[in-house]
Symmetry: C2
Subunit: 232 residues, 2 copies
DNA sequence: TTAGAATCATGTTGTTGAACACAAAAATAC
DNA sequence: GTATTTTTGTGTTCAACAACATGATTCTAA
């Protein structure tokens, strides 16, 4: 019935929740699932909109951000493939308090939250999946409050670089971050101005902690980076 | 079987979860529920401990905090009676990343998390209760990241005062905050040093936004306080 | 019981350093 | 070749910190 372009294999794409579902449950999700492509920098949802769908990133990179005081934006989290997002606001019964945009060309699978809620009310394993995700994210958010408020500028930037490494990994050379961020995005991730991101990055290059080539960032001395992240 | 001192009525004390439970489920909770009193400033749990129990504050006030860089502590949230806490770490399968202490003499009801997990895997309503709580808290944490990092010192303090009003209400005079915090705690809540909390509070008194008498804080001009909180 | 000691919370001030705004140049992308 | 991004420099603001003063409370030993 739905478009024929869905070559995507749901069972492997949504693996984490697929595992815990019955055949019936899978069927109702199959019927509803939609796939949407977003171009680089395209908005996926906006602050204050009402959430309707669970989203699972299949391909690409997505940033979740908030516009703060004077429109200054703060990146809250970054999403990588096979991560779910967009469900918090629905569960809290609120409009989105964040916005999401495709950081690079991305594919997202959408599933109606109402269907998900129906299923999880009967399926304890699925309920536990969301409880666990939310609990992990809440722990990260609590840690982030302390990191962003108490660490100094170098520590915050070092931490962001390590976070990007954990999230998206490295390229074949085993050193270059597998994501190319504008200085401005790096700044929004680390709670600093673009100027300071640039200055501090240059500092790291001088100290031979990283190397840069345009937006490519190579981690030279990860131990030292960790030390900076802990101390400053 | 259990101590006779439990005059506490579980059905009204745990009302929010009690409503959604079957008689069987209630019985297994009744059998396990324990009541513990904590004196002012006594620790309830410590960072890095393993979580075992769901906690429900029945009486008193509790603060959840993290020790950050150089032992500087950051208050993450404040708990008021009939709020649940202590479950996040269990669900995330982690040791506590925060600590909790009684802010004043408090009574807590403890229920084994294993029992709770067993029940919620079969009871979709209970599962939704925790999903909703976690979702709300995660939204607050995201907002908090922006508030604490982007607002200026006056805005952060103003926000904390309004938060305390929302959380614990006012005394009979309709103006005095129904919680007496040390300047240090106020500072830890607002991400500033004790000196700055004192300085900024004095400023608010000069501007006739609040009045102070020791630890008592009277909100004189709530509109102005809101304006300060919004503007930064 | 009370004078004094010790401790802690509160309040004040000056200094220092960090981070920001602004501006303007250089490099790069489209 | 125009626009955007990146880079560097300068002056200013702001908040952390240290050092210190004061007052309240608790403890203790005569």
């Amino acid at each position: 019935m739905k478009g024929k372009k869905e070559i995507v294999d749901l069972s492997s794409s949504l693996s984490e929740i697929w595992r815990v579902l019955s055949e019936n449950e899978r069927e109702s999700i199959r019927k509803d699932a939609r796939f949407v492509n977003y171009r680089k920098n395209e908005m996926i949802y906006f602050e204050d909109e009402y959430p309707k769908d669970l989203m699972c990133l299949l391909k690409g990179k997505v940033k979740i951000f908030k516009s703060g005081i004077g429109g200054r934006s703060q990146i809250i989290r970054m999403i990588r493939p096979i991560q779910y997002f967009g469900y918090r606001a629905y569960f809290a019964n609120e409009p989105y308090v964040t916005a999401a945009s495709a950081f690079e060309s991305s594919t997202v699978c959408l599933i109606s939250m109402e269907i998900i809620e129906d299923i999880l009310r009967k399926n304890g394993d699925l309920a536990m999946f969301f409880i666990q995700q939310l609990s992990i994210d809440l722990g990260i958010a609590d840690q982030r409050v302390v990191n962003l408020t108490q660490k100094h500028i170098r520590g915050r930037l070092a931490e962001s670089l390590l976070f990007l490494k954990e999230s998206y990994g490295l390229e074949e050379d085993g050193a270059t971050l597998n994501i190319y961020l504008a200085r401005e995005d790096l700044a929004n991730l680390s709670n600093m101005t673009t100027s300071n991101a640039i200055r501090t990055l240059s500092g790291f290059v001088d100290e031979r902690v990283i190397a840069m080539d345009g937006r490519k960032i190579k981690i030279i001395d990860e131990d030292k980076l960790r030390k900076i992240s802990r101390m400053g």
